[in-house]
């Protein structure tokens, strides 16, 4: 009798292992599918989820596993030995840094999408923000990215451009920076804070205002003079055991079908 609790616990653990084994790894039970591990910038979250589904339907022998985070976080993971077949970065800096360390298959690297930055505000617009000038108004709660995440890097480039222009000037940049209430490590965290209405505004991508988000957030475009073009490069990792399949996936992204999905989410062709 004294041992019965242990037997119960052991049985529960055993059951848990069995269940997680069955649910967690459908590929193993479903034959020998090739698993493609794709590390993708957080801004690609919604688009990549659709593309993964389309791609898996078209290629039943492939299973795509996504790891979505800030490009700088993904780069750190790869540098620390994480396994990935494909890296999709939101700027060239992080992917080229990996290339320079000899971690990429250099001949596979190429752009697959372009994006632009925008100011996003909650649909209710609690900060009453109608223009870029409003971002400098004292008391505005602004969220941007850290200096390492591409979206934060781009935002700083835009503010620098505006500071250099007499129409705004360095005092504008300073006022905006003083309004920053949080620096996020991935664009998805910026969008979440704006969607929750906790922030008055965020500097994110145009692609972040996807069709399904239009009733919760709205967008204030940033004029071309100040905007930057975010270039998204893709590449196969040296450590990849599925070089051909990985390259095929990248070609799909760069091709018509991938481009169509990307366009639906606000990305432009490179």
């Amino acid at each position: 009798m004294r041992q019965s609790p242990f037997i119960v616990i052991a049985a529960i653990l055993l059951a848990a292992v069995c269940i997680s084994g069955c649910i967690g790894n459908p590929a193993q039970s479903g034959g020998d599918k090739t698993e493609l591990t794709v590390f993708a910038a957080a801004s690609l979250t919604e688009a990549m989820t659709d593309i993964k589904n389309d791609y898996e339907t078209m290629h039943p022998d492939i299973r795509v596993t996504l790891n979505l985070d800030g490009s700088q976080a993904l780069r750190t993971q790869i540098e620390q030995g994480a396994y990935a077949d494909v890296f999709l970065s939101a700027n060239t800096r992080h992917l080229y840094a990996l290339r320079d360390q000899g971690l990429m298959e250099n001949d596979t690297i190429g752009l697959f999408a372009k994006n632009r930055l925008a100011v996003i505000v909650p649909a209710a617009n609690p900060g009453n923000i109608a223009s870029l000038e409003d971002l400098a108004r004292p008391g505005i709660r602004l969220v941007i990215g850290t200096k390492d995440v591409p979206v934060g890097d781009y935002a700083r480039q835009i503010l620098d451009k505006m500071a250099d222009d007499d129409a705004y000037g360095p005092s504008y940049r300073e006022a905006v920076q003083n309004n920053v209430m949080s620096e996020e490590t991935a664009v998805t965290h910026i969008v979440a804070k704006v969607q929750l209405g906790e922030a008055d505004a965020g500097i994110a991508y145009e692609s972040d205002v996807s069709p399904r988000d239009r009733d919760t957030i709205s967008m204030i475009p940033i004029p071309d003079t100040y905007n930057v073009i975010a270039e998204y490069p893709a590449g196969v990792l040296k450590c990849s055991g599925n070089r051909d399949e990985a390259l095929h996936f990248i070609r799909y992204l760069q091709g018509e079908q991938g481009g169509e999905v990307l366009a639906r989410y606000g990305f432009a062709k490179p």
């Binding site: 709660r141 850290t146 949080s182 620096e183 490590t185 929750l196």
Partner: protein
């Protein structure tokens, strides 16, 4: 006769064999466990040279995080002691209906995932939150301020203090209080003059444990207080943020936290041992 003696002998041999195996097995297990815990810590310490460590210390990201963390964790600990001591005392000494319920609620943050705590705090104290909206209307922001850092720390670290404080009060023999009462002392003077000095070590140990937990708070803080250098970016947040850029700063902060953790554990063990001996 002979066969019985033989059986006894075999049994004895088996037992000593079993004892040796058990000792050996336990030794191996303990060694493996120690290696498992010590290796990552040593790996972190070896990863950075003393020169780099000192250079990183003057890095504003590191310095701001250190100052902010120590300040907020100190304030949080004071709040926890002020709020937690009466509750722990009442729950240790007085029986009332719902006492166990109160105890369970206070323990809840111990098992609550920090991410859940962060989201819950945001839903309560955010500007759209059920409490936060009234503050916001009167011009007070709670979320994404240093105050939010302190609230998150108090939320997650409170149980560490209350548990320890209640245990300390319960260990104390009631005869001291009864003696004080019989000599005419009332409740509050008895508590401050007699009880408090007697359980001091236990309370300090609890406060230090809470301080350490507050210092390490990450999940609730990054969700509820945001991530701004010098304002809400505490050491764990700075470690997470700089790991994606300046690894040296990240390691320097980690090493500081390891040192603080060691000192905390050392003090707590020392304090509690004295308490038990008394």
């Amino acid at each position: 006769m002979n066969s019985v003696e033989g059986l006894v002998e075999v049994k004895r041999l088996r037992q000593s064999c079993r004892a040796i195996l058990l000792t050996f097995g336990t030794g191996v297990l303990i060694t493996l466990l120690l290696i498992f815990i010590v290796t990552p810590i040593l790996a972190l310490l070896f990863r950075i040279s003393p020169d780099r460590f000192c250079a990183s210390l003057s890095d504003p990201v590191v310095w701001d995080a250190l100052v902010l963390s120590l300040t907020t964790a100190t304030i949080s600990t004071c709040v926890i002691v002020l709020l937690g001591t009466p509750v722990a005392w009442i729950n240790a000494r007085y029986c009332y209906s719902g006492r166990e319920f109160v105890d369970t609620i206070i323990d809840l943050p111990l098992v609550l995932p920090p991410a859940v705590a962060g989201l819950a705090l945001l839903m309560a104290f955010g500007r759209m939150g059920i409490i936060g909206r009234y503050f916001y209307e009167s011009g007070i922001s709670i979320a994404f301020t240093t105050l939010a850092v302190i609230i998150a720390q108090v939320f997650v670290a409170l149980p560490f203090y209350v548990r320890q404080a209640r245990a300390s009060f319960e260990q104390l023999d009631t005869m001291y209080e009864q003696a004080a009462r019989s000599l005419g002392s009332t409740t509050l003077p008895t508590f401050f003059i007699i009880v408090l000095p007697l359980v001091k070590s236990g309370l300090i140990a609890g406060a230090i444990m809470s301080f350490a937990r507050a210092l390490g708070e990450f999940g609730a803080t990054i969700m509820f207080a945001g991530n701004i250098q010098g304002r809400t970016q505490t050491m764990p947040l700075a470690i997470y943020t700089t790991m994606q850029g300046d690894l040296n700063a990240s390691i320097t902060l980690s090493v500081i936290l390891i040192i603080i953790s060691f000192v905390v554990l050392f003090i707590v063990k020392f304090k509690l041992r004295r308490d038990v001996r008394f």
